[in-house]
Assembly symmetry: C2
Homo-oligomer: 343 residues x 2
Amino acid sequence: MSDKRKSTRRRRGSEQPTLQQVADAAGVSAITVSRALNAPERVNAATRIKVLATVERLGYVPNLVAGSLASARSRFIAVIVPSLANAVFIEVIHGLQETFEREGYQILLGNTDYDIEREYQLIRTFLGWSCSALVTAGLRHSEACRSLLTHWDKPIMEVMELGDALDLNVGLDHHEAGRCMARHLLAQQYRSVVYVGACLDRDYRARMRFEGHREVLHAAGLEAPMIELDQLGSLDAGATGLERVLSRYPSADAIHFANDDLATGALLRAQRLGMTIPGDIAIAGFNGLPLGQHVTPRLTTIRSPRENMGRLAAEEVLKRLDAKRVTRRRHDVGFELLVGGST
Amino acid sequence: MSDKRKSTRRRRGSEQPTLQQVADAAGVSAITVSRALNAPERVNAATRIKVLATVERLGYVPNLVAGSLASARSRFIAVIVPSLANAVFIEVIHGLQETFEREGYQILLGNTDYDIEREYQLIRTFLGWSCSALVTAGLRHSEACRSLLTHWDKPIMEVMELGDALDLNVGLDHHEAGRCMARHLLAQQYRSVVYVGACLDRDYRARMRFEGHREVLHAAGLEAPMIELDQLGSLDAGATGLERVLSRYPSADAIHFANDDLATGALLRAQRLGMTIPGDIAIAGFNGLPLGQHVTPRLTTIRSPRENMGRLAAEEVLKRLDAKRVTRRRHDVGFELLVGGST
DNA sequence: TAAAACTATGTTAGCGCTAACATGGTAGCG
DNA sequence: CGCTACCATGTTAGCGCTAACATAGTTTTA
């Protein structure tokens, strides 16, 4: 009798108080409660206080799913990275998270494991969540993914690398970074330099750096041998890389590693083998992770502004979401050659 | 005329095809499309093929927000960790992600930065997303959080440490780990052992290890001095820790660090200062990160099964979600003393 | 002082999907 | 052959919230 339900059908009621119940208890309408919570300035101060007190009293937790459906947008930001094992992405994520959370957005994190097909699947799923924006690492996507995204009308931010982006872009020039390090090695008079990377078909940014590196060596009339490992950046892989170089290119005087994990693994292994760095062989990396700066000698590397990249990317996306004018679609965050004692 | 809308009001139509449109195009009802996608075995094979082809043709992407609202559950798992800077949590997350994604669940990641109040806020928000389960690091929560969770009827998994949990629990005994390392150090004849931790009020598991450590030293009639750094686990902080020990406890013969990052930072700094390990001073850590196993000498540490912990936690939660019987609510994943050359 | 503009709140109608129940057809069985 | 059982599909009614429009009261403006 007291139940206003017209039908006898029951749906699983979740026990949780609803907005309507809060409204009834506070003696206002549902929309007023909604406004008190989501747009406080549109509600009279006294009403607002009364409503918020009721919310508190009933322990009301807003159903964000319902809110998102009604408003056709969620405060989710889809973030897609190729790996969690690499500290670089963690730092970018950290920068993104900090900035987005401050504005009340929640990150939906996806990990592709460097698989472009998985990226597509993840993006499909994420679009189903009515995300407010998408941040993804890199400019390369599958055809299906590309066409899915071109029909999507929310901000898309591609980070890490610089180039012809779908929408917004914050990153750095990996070709140029490769060139930069190669030039440094040549300037230091190394003449037999081996590049060591891992899974370069998947970690194609490392391949871009290799291409820049090769360009400079060729221009100087030198060979540009390369060794590709089949295990992604890790200290272990770096140790393996060193050993491969020693056996295949015994006359090598320097190794340019695709990242700091590999380089540091090699450096530590070399020291364990009793070699001196850079006397017996010089070692260079990429990323500028703290690790490389704590070994002796310090690792020569290229520092990319990782947290900054995340922060900047988030800020640009937020600008767009606030419907502010976006002055530049592309931001080059640059990089910095850190010359340590290892070269 | 062709618009079936009864009112002239328009809502922001998202252009995206809806389930109903797919149904119309395929000549079936909406619920059949829903079933073809979510419970294929409940639809005749021929119908299913027809529907899925239509889905493909129209580029239909299911609106997961609407689905979650209607079914009062999302395929989200809330995961809350105290830090992303620590590799340990990354590995746990990786283990969780792998296992949950295979079953079609999406992780909602929250980072508390070791702030118990932020944990409460995050959990509140996540409950608003109708998550299927919650995985959180640690057993300590704010009062408000605790009462929120006891009224929640979905699986709750507390990881990392072992003890009196709200629901499910996968972890290890940090007191015992601290005792274990202290016993090892005593067995190696070190008699002046300093414990070095960082922010022990927030990283209270490190404090638990210290308490175990202190217990063993006191039982042996020894002092158990401790130094607390104000910067969470990093190589830099470890280097600082070493210097503090050298100046405040010049007679110390061993340092027990709260984690491998600190320990390795100290080891590398000691070497840069020309000290020998363990001759001048012994160093021990906790976690068993690869890093510590690549320095020379290898770091003595305690290995926790991190990815495993994530995987096991996810499996237990999945069991519960499948309404399978959960035989044990508490799982001790244990740990392993790794004796390197640093002690 | 009447019209315009603004403020505070309410009413109505969905957002796109799925749970629950309903229906009609086919098979299985004694 | 009449019964139950089951299979495939459909109908109906919401899930809990917010956009859009509506309304009444108050202030500003010409």
